[in-house]
Amino acid sequence: MKTFAELNFPGRLVAVEGLDGSGKSTQIYLLKRWLELEGLKVYFSEWNSSELVKSATSKAKKRELLTPTTFSLIHATDFADRYERHLVPLLRAGYIVLCDRYIFTAFARDVVRGCPPEWVRGLYGFAGLPDLTFFFKADLEVSLHRILEGRPQLKYFEAGMDLRLSTDPYESFRIFQGRILEQYLAMSTEFNFLVLDANQLVEKQQAVVRQLVAQRLDLSAFRRAERPPPRPTPSLRRPAAKVVEEPVE
């Protein structure tokens, strides 16, 4: 497997990985905002979000129809759809593509569920590797606390209940997350994860992320054309702030 730089794509892919509650989504959101405000071509994509596969996935999850094999395949289908219809064309067009979770999420989860590692890796053999992968490493207890403090309703597969680790969803979730963390750590060197200390303050982490991105990517290559002028993504538009004219001195 090769990175998109090695594949000679003009675009670059930056992925974040980590346990639920590691703060990775916050970090990639802040990275996205920075790059946008710098006037760069950025696209953001989330795990398990392909419109097309969504209906099948949500139905299957609700009815608890999935086995480790079909769980793995349906997520690979979702990934392939986003990969072929969005990620690749945008990378061809010279975008910085930001992914909240990438193939390593599948490598970790599916293997914990008992799928053979070589088989899972083979499924994703069509995908390029990220040019940068940030791994947000939080203490297991910190991640668990962030997710569990509100005693949320944990979903069946999210809690790893299908693995029959425990009849208590919270206990099951703890064991499941612990095993996923082991898988992530085992992959860390092989896939050149940039490991961040997710126990630190948001700003401290973001400063490191921005610094590394600026070092490793030639950001000037991703500048938007001057016209049409850059506009914020509609979903992220804030209510218009009242502009108070400062008296000219």
Binding site: L52, V53, S55, A56, A60, L65, L66, T67, P68, T69, T70, L73, I74, A76, T77, A80, D81, Y83, E84, R85, R113, G114, C115, P116, E118, W119, G122, L123, G125, F126
Partner: protein
């Protein structure tokens, strides 16, 4: 002299089973007494006729049967159908979607069927899925890994009918050619007839290539349905007797 009917029933014994590749986690391949018989071939090659005749014969001989086929899973068949109608999925996506459908049927119909001692009749199997994808340029090694979840069947019969005859049968039945069976998504020709002929020819070449790996039985599909079925029955009888 009449034999008592129960004496005619062949009682199959469990056979050694294996997956083509990595297999499915948590599946015990011991004690699967049933048999898995696959009928492959293009649309119009007579697959459904042959399977219907086999069911009659098998049930008459005291064997319970269950059928599987492509795009028949409870999990994703509807979504797959919808996606295909719109022709909006790209290659790897469609391929993985079909694999999901296949995996669901293996886990929920084929394996339980074999465990319960049924003769499982599959109207197409991984070979059609692989051939379709290979014709569309997908990597063979990738497909082999993907379909490493498939059980090796006891027999695979490929009904071989030349494209010239397939096109005639298709018109006799529907008076129209099917978009996908004509490979129209490949852009081989704007002319549907030309596209059909080219696509089916390439599919047959691909099946012949897969035959060298998977060693299925190629059956001359140009003969009458009865003659073909007699052939299949003879081979299946031997399989049931454990020969």
């Amino acid at each position: 002299m009449r034999h008592a009917p129960q004496n005619q029933i062949v009682i199959p014994s469990p056979t050694a089973r294996r997956f083509y590749g990595h297999g499915i986690p948590g599946v015990d391949l011991e004690n699967l007494a049933g048999r898995l018989i696959v009928v492959e071939g293009a649309d119009g090659s007579g697959r459904s006729t042959q399977i219907a005749m086999l069911v009659e014969w098998l049930e008459g001989s005291g064997h319970a049967t269950v059928q599987v086929g492509l795009k028949r899973s409870t999990l994703v068949s509807e979504e797959l159908e919808r996606a295909q109608e719109g022709n909006i999925l790209s290659r790897s996506t469609l391929s993985l979607f079909y694999a999901t459908d296949f995996a669901d049927q293996i886990e929920n119909i084929i394996l339980p069927g074999l465990k319960a001692g049924f003769v499982v009749l599959a109207d197409r199997y991984i070979y059609t899925l692989m051939a379709r994808d290979m014709v569309r340029g997908m990597d063979e090694a990738w497909l082999k890994n993907l379909y490493g979840i498939a059980l090796e069947p006891d027999a695979v019969f490929y009904l071989n009918v030349p494209p010239e005859e397939l096109v005639q049968r298709s018109f006799a039945k529907n008076t129209a050619l099917d978009y996908w069976e004509s490979g129209m998504d490949l852009g081989l020709s704007r002319d549907m007839f030309d596209s059909f002929m080219k696509y089916q020819t390439t599919m047959q070449q691909t099946f012949r290539h897969l035959q060298t790996t998977y060693g299925f039985t190629i059956v001359d599909g140009m003969r009458g349905a009865e003659a073909i079925n007699a052939d299949l029955r003879k081979k299946i009888s031997a399989i049931l007797a454990g020969k």
